[in-house]
């Protein structure tokens, strides 16, 4: 009697769908692509269920499949992705206000105190996610491919069809914006609370 066991696994995979969709939307910044990536992931996971052992890591295993499907989507839509990325680079950046004319920082970065304690707080991750969501789509994609999917930078540039210089520029802008955003929305607020 294997059927009941299989159907409950299928149900478990289907239950992961909202979580998978959240990840795919965040990564791809395109509803249709995200839906496709998730559908393909669920199909692949159900087909591969017999090869999967160790139920406790089912979620990790399925997210692993999703990562590949996300990259497939970027490949499939590489032309659009490349055009958006190039526009982002060409637009230049308001980051210039971080520095004065001689290239020195205009104001001191805050000391974040003990940032590690933030990693235990779910509110912190909500702020981090909001900051990532607010990045322009090309910056959000390239940043998450690099830092969350941990893809090799050269592979990312190749998939996005941008030069390595432009890849570095986008990653730099994404990190600087996220640094400012986390500082303003989390660490400055935490510091203010500490000093009350």
């Amino acid at each position: 009697m294997r059927a009941p066991e299989q159907s409950s696994s299928a149900q478990t995979i289907a239950d992961l769908r909202p979580m998978l969709l959240r990840i795919a939307r965040l990564q791809l910044r395109n509803e249709a692509w995200a839906e496709d990536a998730v559908s393909e992931t669920i199909v692949a996971a159900m087909e591969g269920m017999s090869a999967f052992r160790g139920r406790s890591q089912l979620r990790t295993w399925v997210v692993g499949i999703l990562k590949h499907k996300i990259i497939d989507q970027i490949r499939r839509h590489s032309r659009e992705v490349a055009i958006e990325a190039q526009q982002q680079v060409d637009e230049g950046e308001a980051l210039d206000e971080l520095f004065d004319a001689s290239g020195h920082r205009a104001s001191a970065p805050h000391d974040w105190g003990d940032p590690e304690s933030a990693l235990a707080r779910s509110e912190f991750f909500a702020v981090l996610q909001a900051c990532i969501d607010e990045l322009p789509a090309p910056l959000g994609r390239v940043f998450l491919l690099r830092e969350w999917l941990e893809l090799d930078t050269m592979q990312i540039c190749k998939e996005l069809q941008v030069t390595s210089t432009n890849c570095f520029v986008m990653l730099y802008r994404a990190r600087m914006r996220l640094r400012e955003c986390l500082e303003a929305r989390w660490f400055a607020a935490q510091g203010a609370r500490r000093n009350d």
């Binding site: 959240r22 520095f99 974040w112 940032p115 990693l119 830092e147 969350w148 640094r179």
Partner: protein, 68 residues
């Protein structure tokens, strides 16, 4: 201060903007030795860039732990 190497000018003095770019890029690729040296020298005298270096390292750790 500038040291001349065969075929290229090695720039050892960098400003904060250049240091920030290197701090980001070293998360993505290996820096040239002269870039590492210039960054090292800059960080020795710049508290603000050292703070940003720590912030970026923390950002990487935090993103890897984003859970959905």
């Amino acid at each position: 201060m500038r040291l001349k190497a065969p075929g290229e000018m090695i720039k050892l003095r960098i400003n904060c903007r250049e240091a920030h770019e290197l701090l980001s890029r070293q998360h993505d690729t290996a820096l040239h030795w002269s870039e590492r040296l210039a960054l090292h020298l800059h960080l020795r005298v710049c508290d603000w860039c050292r703070t940003v270096q720590r912030n970026l390292a923390f950002l990487s750790r935090a993103v890897r732990r984003l859970d959905y």
